[in-house]
Symmetry: D2
Subunit: 116 residues, 4 copies
Amino acid sequence: MPFDDQISRISKFAADRDWEQFHSVRNLILALVGEVGELAEIVQWVSDEKISEFFGDPKNQARFEEELADVLIYLLRLASIRNIDLEGALKKKIESNEEKFPVAKSKGSSKKYTEM
Amino acid sequence: MPFDDQISRISKFAADRDWEQFHSVRNLILALVGEVGELAEIVQWVSDEKISEFFGDPKNQARFEEELADVLIYLLRLASIRNIDLEGALKKKIESNEEKFPVAKSKGSSKKYTEM
Amino acid sequence: MPFDDQISRISKFAADRDWEQFHSVRNLILALVGEVGELAEIVQWVSDEKISEFFGDPKNQARFEEELADVLIYLLRLASIRNIDLEGALKKKIESNEEKFPVAKSKGSSKKYTEM
Amino acid sequence: MPFDDQISRISKFAADRDWEQFHSVRNLILALVGEVGELAEIVQWVSDEKISEFFGDPKNQARFEEELADVLIYLLRLASIRNIDLEGALKKKIESNEEKFPVAKSKGSSKKYTEM
């Protein structure tokens, strides 16, 4: 499983602090929402036109990386507590998207494309 | 890099459909928000008390797995378009959390624990 | 229109600071996501069982009120820049929900109840 | 209180269906997250450049209005179950923002402006 070492380390981190009691599915989803909020805040006032310039500043890039990592931590933790094979789920979903959006019908159009 | 094959496949998926034009940072964050919303919807009316019973139904577990995969797809795609080494960012953040929340001071308390 | 004075004051607040340029639909949605994230953070580690005790602390109640206000500010601002009659939209949606979920069929069940 | 009639009607709607049992703070926040996700989905693939054209289509404007109403319903319901004077909270927050961001220092800059 990808990120296996990190998943174990996050689990140990929680166990060492006796924080497993807080890591229920609903708590972790709320925590994930908090991190996604912080991710959104980074670019909330940066228009599409200014975004390249914005990420030209290494501080902005670093902040973005850190927030992506925060989102990923809660995602991995959610998969872990529900015993989910995230790699398997990912492969399955990618395959399903490939079937759902055939190249010939989907090319260049975001019309039918409500989700990836 | 973990999930490397999947990241390539998601990139190819977007390129084949000429959807790279839609995959800007801000678009992908909005799409991520949409998927997190679907994840939240799954358990929105399921109280903490009922959650084990809820996941006892394989259909609910499967729906949860699928939504986690959707969130992960956009997360991997965001990392990919910004050339982020997600594994490196993850390790760095886990280390930073380990320092920020020393076991002795954090044990069993969610008080100081505003984020993991 | 309810909150009319507040909507005007928020508009003036933005105009006085020359911030109208930042208040596009997409920027405001991202900002709304940020505030919803802060709302979620307040209760992320508070289980259903502990929630009454939690809100017994006036500081927690005050923080909750403040975050609700933040979400409302961006919601009112979004309606304002798109010239939306929020009261009319709200009435229409409540009526639609009343029809969509007839009392006889919906009573006590969250099964069919994917949204309110 | 603004929206007083609508708040009462939403409360009655929940009571009539015996849905008050589902309207805990955490459930309603998760439901709010779901609606914010649907709001984000509307504009997720619409770049800043195309947004005016997008809202020129009355169907898109109507969908946007409906989602704003959905977010507002859960916001009003959250305030209602926690006995929050939303108008008072809103005034207080607007005043606090006016002090926090003095016109002279904030004009035209989103730099210091991490939140409104």
